[in-house]
């Protein structure tokens, strides 16, 4: 039993370390002009010179309890709002699925 508990604890740290590393990667993707460039339109965290075309990305967990809903917004914002100016990051292969998952990990730290 203690071994099991130790194992679970280890596994948990390992997993949350991975999530943490992914969140750091996700932040890079969000800020990088050649990747997400989310700062062009949204103020986020400590990002410098954000644009003001979209709403600030804050309290994401509370506003997007369902990860699939948040992912859909990033995958193809025009599905919800046909004239949205937000690029369809998944649909147009601007970001890979893996990159979007890392981005989501980061957004949930906000």
């Amino acid at each position: 039993m203690p071994i099991n508990a130790l194992f679970t604890a280890l596994l948990f740290t390992l997993l949350s370390n991975i999530a943490f590393a992914d969140a750091i990667e996700g932040k890079k993707i969000a800020f990088d002009r050649a990747k997400g460039n989310c700062l062009a339109c949204h103020s986020i965290d400590d990002g410098e010179m954000p644009g003001n075309i979209g709403p600030p990305l804050i309290v994401m967990q509370a506003r997007f309890p369902d990860r699939a809903v948040l992912k859909a917004q990033i995958w193809d914002a025009t599905a919800k709002n046909s004239i949205s100016i937000m690029p369809p990051f998944g649909k147009h292969h601007i970001l890979t699925d893996g990159e979007i998952e890392k981005l989501l990990d980061y957004l949930y730290t906000l």
Partner: protein, 277 residues
């Protein structure tokens, strides 16, 4: 939910029917009214200064820079090029109405014989080939300088683009309008997304300028370019920003786009060339 959806779908249909059926004159009224309501403190003429009409800090810096306009030398070169005779002894003045002075405000125009939009830059090159000279590159260089000089002789003349009431001219206008409102490129932006829908907002630190005022001051001397660029060079830059294929200068699509965009600006004074960062 179903009703809401139906309302949205009908709404979209109505807007597109409206867009397709409106006359150019009605389009222009709607277009100009949009900006007047969006920026109630600006007079119509103020729009010719682009982002500098919206942002006082940027305007102060820009005006300080214009004490010695960065394009002065290039503009003088344009005047010399304009006046230099061709090998056959004729010159540009011989190709244009009013010897090429004070005509910028009439371009682009529709040529009913060839059924195509003629921009000033295209007319400059046709003047050259009609006189046995080689064509010049369309987006920058000597042609942009000549065009800048010609624009400078039109200062304060009011844009007066004519769309003759025939099918071919209307089709060219419609194609330009379609281009302006269609999303394109990997990043999926229309011109209208940035310059209408989000006008005045910031993309990073760049304020998005109103499309009312866009064609009045070209060619533009951009600090980022270090020389003059024609309107089609700017179209290409904006295409590249959204990872869309930039088109060739004077391609049919760009000429039609210029026709639409300049007609939307009818009534605004010419104030070119101008400098931009």
């Amino acid at each position: 939910m179903k009703n809401l959806l139906r309302a949205i779908v009908t709404g979209v249909l109505l807007t597109s029917t409206f867009i397709v059926n409106a006359t150019p004159e009605q389009d222009k009224e709607t277009f100009q009214r949009f900006y007047a309501e969006r920026f109630p403190n600006l007079a119509k003429e103020d729009f010719v200064n682009g982002v500098y009409a919206l942002d006082q800090d940027a305007r102060d810096q820009w005006e300080a820079m214009n004490d010695f306009p960065p394009y002065e030398e290039n503009l003088e070169a344009g005047e010399e090029l304009f006046n230099a005779p061709f090998a056959n002894g004729k010159n540009y003045a011989s190709c244009f109405e009013n010897s090429g002075e004070n005509i910028r405000q009439n371009y682009p125009m529709f040529d009913g014989k060839r059924n195509m939009v003629i921009t000033l830059e295209l007319a400059i090159n046709e003047c050259r080939t009609n006189n046995g000279e080689e064509t010049l590159a369309y987006k920058k260089g000597a042609l942009a300088k000549i065009s800048a000089y010609m624009a400078s002789t039109s200062e304060d003349s009011v844009l007066n683009i004519v769309i003759p009431n025939n099918e071919k001219a209307l089709a060219a206008y419609q194609a330009g309008k379609q281009y302006f409102y269609s999303k394109r490129g990997q990043l999926n932006f229309s011109c209208a997304n940035c310059h209408v829908q989000n006008v005045g907002r910031k993309a990073r630190s760049e304020t998005l300028s109103p499309a009312l005022g866009h064609p009045t001051h070209f060619p533009v001397y951009r600090m980022a370019w270090g020389n003059f660029g024609t309107l089609h060079r700017r179209f290409a830059s904006c295409n590249k920003q959204v990872r869309a294929q930039p088109l060739a200068g004077q391609s049919e699509a760009y000429r039609n786009l210029e026709y639409f965009l300049t007609y939307m600006n009818n009534g605004l004074p010419i104030n070119g060339p101008a400098s931009r960062k």
